[in-house]
């Protein structure tokens, strides 16, 4: 079986699920189970006694074989992201960190300079660093060089559901990378996840599309199938495109004309 390799970890599932925006913890847990994911993102938040049931550590730790990937959401600078990473590792015990630094709440585009600086520090400290980045092949290569375990270019803006609008740039990143490329953010439908996998992504990260679906567990299952289908199709070898028709049946002439 082809496994997804991230740092020293291997995963049979290539769907990474975000845990935000679900209507309830139980809906989120159902979706995680239905997706078969082995890696989920979580975010640090201040403890609030009135919302103690929102703490996800307990419910997620009951799912066997699940690894947590805390994110640094809320960080606007490299130093804030590094601080969040240290706190998250203390709490999760997981070496994974999704570096997510977006200073502008209106577009949530990742800051490439602060992201690079944070990744350099965290990779040197032994984290399995998974940066959320603009679909920039130069930045992706620089992040590979400082020891990131993957790069996660955005398909489109976080939560926008605009799909793979960066497809051509993501293809370049895939062609140039020696580490897994994972599309993160913007995917709306399983067909887009499938397309990302066919294109050569090693995994996809989905959150909003599952969380806000009418039936999150069913959508999670649909994404899991699409990711598998795309990966299998890629390995099977997609046929070349042709500008002209190429017949699939023998065009013999026995039906036409008198013999």
């Amino acid at each position: 079986m082809d496994l997804l390799r991230l740092g020293t970890y291997t995963f049979s599932s290539r769907l990474i699920l975000g845990t935000g925006k679900f209507s309830s913890t139980s809906a989120m847990i159902e979706a995680v189970r239905a997706s078969g994911t082995q890696l989920v993102t979580v975010a640090l938040r201040r403890f609030n006694r009135e919302q103690a049931e929102d703490d996800l550590f307990g419910p997620l730790s009951e799912i066997e074989g699940l690894t947590l990937m805390p994110n640094t959401s809320g960080a606007a600078t490299a130093s804030e992201a590094v601080k969040a990473a240290h706190i998250s590792r203390e709490l999760s015990g997981s070496p994974f960190i999704k570096v997510e630094i977006h200073p502008n709440p209106h577009h949530l585009m990742p800051d490439p300079i602060e992201t690079y600086e944070a990744c350099k520090i965290l990779a040197a400290e032994g984290f399995i660093v998974m940066p959320y980045i603009p679909a920039d092949p130069v930045l992706a290569k620089r992040l590979e060089e400082v020891g990131c375990s993957s790069v996660m270019p955005l398909g489109s803006a976080i939560g926008s559901g605009q799909g793979l609008s960066t497809a051509e740039m993501v293809k370049i990143i895939i062609r140039e990378s020696n580490i897994p490329v994972i599309v993160d953010a913007g995917l709306r439908s399983p067909s887009e996840a499938c397309a990302a996998m066919e294109m050569g992504c090693e995994a996809v990260l989905v959150n909003s599309a599952v969380a806000v679906a009418r039936d999150p567990a069913a959508m999670a299952s649909a994404f899991a199938k699409a990711v598998e289908a795309g990966f299998e199709a890629r390995n099977a070898g997609l046929m070349p495109r042709s500008s002209a028709a190429v017949a699939t049946s023998p065009l013999t002439s026995f039906l036409g004309g008198a013999s």
């Binding site: 935000g20 925006k21 979580v42 640090l44 938040r45 996800l56 550590f57 709490l91």
Partner: protein
């Protein structure tokens, strides 16, 4: 009983003088799930919480994992 003032998760709070981080977690009802504790920017690990005595004006953050993408 004398008290000290700390900033807990951004809000001022009076706690007994001499209280440890472990005491604070009980007072704040935060002892029932895993939490991260940061005092004045320093992480206080679980094995340090019984011996870490809080001081007047300490900035304390108690953090948990919530949903996020």
């Amino acid at each position: 009983m004398s008290t000290i003032g700390i900033i807990l998760n951004g809000e001022r709070r009076e706690i007994p003088a001499g209280a440890t981080v472990a005491d604070l977690l009980c007072i704040a009802d935060a002892g029932r799930q895993p939490v991260a504790v940061v005092v004045n920017e320093n992480i206080v690990r679980p094995d340090q919480r019984d011996s870490c005595i809080l001081q007047d004006e300490d900035q304390v953050e108690i953090l948990v994992f919530a949903g996020g993408g």
